[in-house]
Symmetry: C2
Subunit: 141 residues, 2 copies
């Protein structure tokens, strides 16, 4: 992954490029999946054990605030994170909780009447069901 692209992302979010923050962002951009904070912390420290747990959480929060990273809450499990690259929707497996990307497509907005005075910033689509691994073929019980 291009180090310059990562630094540019951080700069775009007006975040200093510290080694710890860089490592988190780089991991998310390279990983492609939807790791939990604990997985990110572990992965980042396996390479270069200089980051604390609190820092990983701090940086994830900063990255989310800056709009560079998305946090996906999953019922009964730790939150997942992914770098906002191309727009996409999410699929969440009922059984294993894994989060997968789904092709982006535009979603019709609600009527302004039903919006009231709410300000809608974004609109996301979440599909739920069984992932390939957990499907009928493989589901044990």
């Amino acid at each position: 992954m291009d180090a310059v692209a990562i630094k540019r992302s951080l700069a775009g979010g007006r975040l200093r490029c510290t080694p710890q923050r860089y490592a988190v962002m780089a991991f998310l951009m390279e990983h492609g999946g939807h790791p939990t904070a604990a997985e990110i912390f572990e992965a980042v420290n396996r390479v270069d054990p200089r980051s604390s747990r609190a820092t990983t959480y701090n940086n994830l929060r900063d990255l989310v605030k800056a709009g560079l990273v998305r946090e996906v809450a999953v019922e009964g499990r730790a939150a997942r994170f992914d770098a906002k690259g191309m727009r996409h929707h999410h699929f969440i497996c009922d059984r294993c909780g894994n989060v997968e990307d789904m092709e982006w497509y535009d979603v019709p907005r609600p009527t302004s009447g039903s919006l009231g005075r709410r300000i809608v910033r974004e609109c996301e689509l979440i599909f739920r069901g069984l992932c390939t691994k957990c499907g009928p073929r493989h589901a044990s019980r």
Copy 2:
């Protein structure tokens, strides 16, 4: 709220009608909002202090499993619950975390190509932004 309707719901989900479970279901059907497990536990026990915390969690889990209640995960906050009445989408406030119902409308499904071998059970739309209370008028800072 009609006690018979509540009992019928539980029976429909093949769940025994215990006083504790009835109280949780009744509260959700009457409340209309999106309370947390802690709020449900407190409300139910204020009326009739016979339910333990574990039971409230057990019952919520059973009700969700049975498809009578929906659990909504909110980033960084406790999960919210609502009785599945009329179909609806959800709005989640970025600032206060409150969950509100939004008018239902059909959402186009993804192309079968992008689905792969996933089995999609449902598809929900989540709007994010600022609720009426937290909007620009009222937002402090």
